[in-house]
């Protein structure tokens, strides 16, 4: 029964996502693609950025798209559903444990994140031209990073989606998303922060750091990156912690 309902819930999300595909692409891909155009195409050709920068940036862009697609797909519908439309209530009345509905949202977020990576990687590579050191030899690791990264940010989305009210959305963008993106080691490697020791360790609270570094480990392993056990350990711990917070928030919002 639970598996069948889970499938029905996933199918519902797929149908709705398919109808909103243009909006989803714009909101998750716009910023990274523009960044690729400026920093991966224009500035290197102008000679203002060394061409090798592409090697640093490509995994970061993949990480950014993954996280944005995952978190948006979970947070925004939840804020709207719990805060305004109450649309989720028919799903909360399904004869399955309430937590299953939350877990399905997270699963759906991981899938959307993975789809975003599948689209953005070839697009970025195409725009940037040759990326020295890029390899697709580590597909299992790439897959693992995508799943774990999607899980961390979908769980984070579950937490934010149940903790925030609709009027908090713009604040969330400025206070949470903007610093997270800038200090997420997407546009520079974590090792690059060696010159800024305080910052280097402060950014470790940012989940995006581990996904950016994980993408480097998978896509450009020749570039110096955070040790893999540290990356995987942090991603698993963050998933568990954020999932716990997210489920707690979901239960609170779902049952009065």
């Amino acid at each position: 029964m639970n598996a069948r309902v889970f499938g029905a819930l996933l199918l519902r999300d797929a149908v709705v996502a398919k109808r909103e595909i243009a909006g989803i692409i714009i909101r998750t891909m716009m910023q990274p693609v523009l960044f690729v155009i400026v920093f991966g195409l224009l500035l290197p050709r102008m000679g203002m950025i060394p061409r090798g920068y592409n090697t640093t940036m490509l995994p970061g862009i993949a990480a950014l798209c993954l996280t944005m697609a995952s978190i948006w797909s979970v947070t925004m519908p939840l804020i709207a559903d719990f805060g305004m439309t109450k649309e989720i209530e028919d799903r909360l009345l399904a004869p399955v444990p309430i937590e299953l509905i939350a877990i399905q949202k997270v699963f759906s977020g991981i899938v959307q994140g993975a789809i975003a990576v599948v689209f953005v990687l070839p697009a970025a590579r195409l725009l940037m031209g040759p990326v020295p050191g890029l390899t697709l030899q580590n597909l299992p690791l790439l897959f693992l990073i995508v799943i774990l990264g999607g899980a961390v940010f979908s769980a984070f989305g579950l937490f934010l989606g149940t903790a925030l009210q609709p009027q908090h959305i713009s604040l969330m963008m400025q206070v949470i998303f903007a610093p997270m993106i800038m200090f997420g080691c997407a546009y520079y490697p974590w090792r690059g922060l060696d010159h800024f020791p305080v910052l280097k360790y402060a950014v470790l609270i940012n989940p995006l750091v581990y996904i950016s570094e994980g993408m480097r480990a998978a896509l450009t392993p020749g570039v110096d990156h955070m040790p893999l056990p540290a990356i995987l350990g942090a991603l698993i711990a963050l998933t568990v912690g954020l999932m716990w917070l997210g489920l707690r928030g979901f239960r609170r919002r779902a049952i009065g």
Binding site: M1, R4, V5, A8, L9, L11, R12, V15, V16, R19, E20, T85, K86, E87, E89, D90, R91, L92, L93, A94, P95, V96, P97, A254, I255, G256
Partner: protein, 305 residues
């Protein structure tokens, strides 16, 4: 079908339910009547597993709503106060997906959705977006959706609020129809005549407490005072309240005399006799039988809406 014992719900410092006891029999059309803030929606919330009671127990179709909430949800259908359709889906998809959330195979779900849309008179809107529906049509869709998994109990929270009179009448027809098919229906309302006309039994609640529970006729009989006979004369009445045989007491305002009487049949001839003796001509006469409204006012000291 439903048993509620000593149900309490406290939100911070607000007591929403204060030791509520209720029983609803199978096949009954049951009304929860009370003003805003009476605890009607909280009661529905607890019974539909969406609100956790602070104390007390509630069973729906044999399931404890707290410890067996999953099983309880399989047996109930809910039409919320404010329509909350899935706006990303079409009308028909709303029904089909809802059924599949209850484990019903897609083919069967589609079949049921079509039959229900037909029955509720919105089959022509099946492929429309939800936002294209009028308020009344949305409410019909919500009822159709709540029925797709064939629940044993249907809960409706203020189903006719915000609808125009025509849509309201149409919806009442639908509710009557559901009732005649033997389904247990629990609805909240703050419209007296709605509870009176539709429900087998009505519970009057206020401030989280049950004040009275009986058939509408029996509740009306409990209403204090009597039938009200309002007579309009051709000119203003003298200030004194006249003594009239068969009338308990009278109030006069302008040309209108309001008489409270145990029986309208006895009071009306006496009122005509009174008019004749004083030389008044009767212009109009209206009879108001004891109503749930008068009972409600006597029980709570305030009006319903």
């Amino acid at each position: 079908m439903i048993q509620i014992r000593g149900l309490r719900k406290i939100y911070g410092s607000v007591v929403a339910l204060d030791g509520l006891d209720l029983d609803v029999a199978e096949g009954e059309m049951f009304g929860l009547l009370g003003p805003n803030g009476a605890g009607k929606t909280t009661t529905i919330g607890v019974l539909t597993t969406r609100v956790k009671a602070t104390a007390g127990t509630a069973h729906v179709a044999g399931c404890d709503v707290t410890s067996e909430s999953v099983a309880a949800r399989a047996r109930i259908g809910v039409v919320p106060q404010r329509p909350n359709p899935d706006r990303g889906l079409t009308v028909r998809e709303n029904l089909v997906f809802h059924a599949t959330y209850f484990g019903i195979p897609r083919a069967e779900a589609s079949h049921r959705a079509d039959a229900l849309l037909e029955r509720l008179g919105i089959a022509d809107k099946r492929d429309a977006k939800v936002d294209e529906l009028s308020g009344g049509q949305q409410q019909r869709m919500m009822i159709a959706r709540a029925l797709t998994h064939e629940p044993r109990v249907l809960f409706l929270d203020e189903p006719t609020v915000g609808l125009d009179p025509q849509a309201r009448l149409g919806l009442r027809e639908i509710l009557r129809d559901l009732h005649t098919q033997g389904r247990t229906v629990v609805m909240t309302t703050h419209y007296m005549e709605e509870a009176d006309q539709l429900c087998d039994r009505v519970a009057i609640v206020d401030r989280g407490k049950l004040l009275a529970c009986d058939t509408p006729a029996a509740l009306r009989a409990q209403a204090p005072g009597e039938t009200i006979v309002e007579v309009t004369f051709d000119r203003e009445l003298a200030a004194d309240a006249p003594e009239i045989a068969g009338v308990t007491r009278t109030e006069s305002r302008g040309t209108v005399l309001r008489a409270y009487a145990p029986s309208a049949a006895a009071a009306i001839p006496a009122l005509f006799a009174f008019a004749e003796s004083r030389g008044y001509a009767v212009r109009d006469i209206q009879i108001a039988r004891p109503s749930l409204e008068t009972l409600f006012i006597s029980l709570t000291g305030r009006k319903l809406a």
